[in-house]
């Protein structure tokens, strides 16, 4: 089982969600995070409006989904295709192996609980 953590622009979250469902993902969750990378960041007005400053961090969405190993490529492709703009700041996808999944409602564990 793999955990896919994807960081991308917040306005893409609906597109990514759709794309994931189309790729056969059964569940996921997401949240707002503040992200910093190579992206210049966002320009914010400081003080009372006299200067702007580049806030290096910018708003991103972090989406997490746990999938079976064989879906990895499809899922990565689904996320990339739905969130890529080609500009710096598009985000990253991290893949981690996880050792177990349990479904709270039924208590079932392993692949079938995903």
């Amino acid at each position: 089982m793999l955990k896919i953590e994807a960081i991308f622009r917040p306005e893409r979250v609906s597109a990514v969600a759709e794309s994931l469902l189309a790729a056969g993902v059964t569940g996921f969750h997401y949240q707002n995070v503040t992200g910093q990378g190579q992206q210049k960041g966002v320009e914010v007005v400081t003080g009372r409006g006299g200067q702007t400053t580049t806030r290096s961090a910018s708003s991103k969405t972090l989406l997490v989904t746990v999938i079976s190993n064989d879906k990895k490529d499809a899922v990565v492709e689904a996320i990339v295709s739905a969130s890529r703009t080609g500009e710096i700041g598009d985000g990253k996808i991290f893949v981690t192996e996880i050792s177990d999944t349990i479904r709270v409602r039924t208590g079932e564990a392993g692949e079938s609980a995903i």
Binding site: E43, V44, V45, T46, G47, R48, G49, G50, Q51, T52, T53, R55
Partner: protein, 403 residues
């Protein structure tokens, strides 16, 4: 008794009352989220504390006969003030107590913009009592209670010196003594609150300025008009300068500009017409904008720019009153009307207030700082954690399921 005037003075008093909660939101939106409740409380508790001080002795010190410098204790506890209007009174005498009370409440609250995010709340409660008594009441006496500034013939329709210059310079003293914040933030925590606060201030200022006519008459109407024009012009000026400099017109800038315009028109509201208000508003936007920049460079941490907006804006308004005065309204000519005399008088009134309030506030805070158990500043740990939790045991907003 004139029921129309009484009706307007009641309304105006209610409007001015509403300004202090407005200020709470204006200031509250500008700090960081962890100090939001604390900042709101600085204003809100001023309503509670100063209302009591005012009826007990503040009104008497301000409006009692006294001498040129301060009133007396003849009306302690509002003693001797008639409950009913006498023949020939335009309104019942308690109207003065009410209307002026609202001014007394907001003035110290204005100061708190300089000291937010680090000042000790319990010391602030004591400061409120002392500052109202030792500074606010005397300065009010100077201008409206028959003191030296009114004797001199200075024009201060709605309190440019009493409220804004006074609070502005006190803010400098406070910022200097309490010192810089450990880690000032970059962005305001809540821009809608800033706009809400500015809008309520603007609304309330109609009561503040038009109410200062003390009648529902032509002066009140003119004051209402010029108040709106100056605020609008200053807000737009500020926004446009900001747009030119940075490419962006921020809501915080426009709101701050509008407040600067309101400050500047305050002393002039009974003396200038709409075209004068355009000029005063434009000046306020321009001057205060650059005052903010300049004061930031000094390194003084006047957190929410009280001096730049209320101090400099107040001085500009005070002097501008001497420039744009229309004799049809004020009975005297301003510089544009060909006379420099009024301008001189205005300058003296401003500097007198600056000197007294600046020095006296400094002394008060200096002493409070030294008194064991008081002190001006919260602990570093509390400042880091945020004063909402540390001082009030509250959080601005909570939205986790566990609650």
């Amino acid at each position: 008794m004139d029921s129309g005037t009484t009706a307007w003075m009641l309304t105006a008093s209610a409007l001015v009352f509403f300004m202090t909660p407005g200020l709470a939101f204006f200031y509250g939106g500008l700090v960081r989220a962890k100090n939001l409740v604390n900042t709101i409380m600085y204003s809100f508790i001023s309503i509670c504390v100063v209302s009591i001080v005012w009826v007990l002795w503040g009104y008497s010190l301000a409006f009692g006969e006294g001498n040129n410098f301060v009133g007396d204790f003849s009306m302690v506890g509002l003693n001797g003030i008639a409950l009913f209007a006498a023949e020939g009174d335009a309104y019942p005498p308690l109207v003065d107590v009410i209307f002026q009370m609202m001014f007394a409440i907001i003035t110290p609250a204005l100061i708190t913009g300089a000291l937010v995010e680090r000042f000790k709340f319990s010391t602030y409660l004591i400061f409120l009592v002392i500052w109202s008594t030792v500074i606010y009441s005397p300065v009010t006496h100077w201008v409206w209670g028959g003191g030296w500034i009114s004797d001199m013939g200075a024009l201060d329709f709605a309190g440019g010196t009493v409220i804004h210059i006074n609070a502005g310079i006190a803010a400098v003293a406070a910022a200097m003594l309490v010192g810089k914040r450990r880690n000032p933030g970059l962005q305001p925590n809540n821009v809608p609150y800033v706009v809400l606060g500015a809008a309520i201030l603007w609304l309330g200022w109609f009561g503040f300025n038009a109410g200062s006519a003390l009648a529902a008459d032509s002066y009140a109407v003119n004051a209402f008009l010029v108040t709106n024009v100056a605020a609008a012009t200053a807000g737009l000026t500020w926004g446009l300068i900001s747009m030119i400099k940075t490419g962006k017109m921020g809501a915080v800038g426009v709101a701050t500009g509008a407040v600067a315009g309101l400050v500047a028109i305050t002393p002039a509201a009974g003396a200038v017409d709409a075209m004068g208000a355009l000029a005063i508003g434009f000046g306020a936007g321009l001057i205060c904008f650059f005052a903010v920049e300049l004061i930031h460079k000094t390194g003084m941490d006047d957190a929410l720019d009280v001096f730049a907006v209320h101090g400099i804006g107040g001085i500009w308004g005070c002097l501008a009153t001497g420039i744009f005065t229309v004799s049809a309204l004020a009975g005297v000519d301003g510089l544009l009307g060909g006379s420099a005399k009024q301008l001189g008088i205005q300058a003296i009134s401003a500097f007198g207030t600056l000197a007294y309030s600046g020095i006296a506030t400094f002394i008060i805070l200096f002493i409070l700082d030294k008194i064991p158990g008081l002190g001006l500043r919260e602990s570093e740990a509390d400042e880091d954690q945020g004063l909402d939790l540390a001082t009030h045991g509250e959080q601005g907003s909570v939205n986790d399921g566990a609650n």
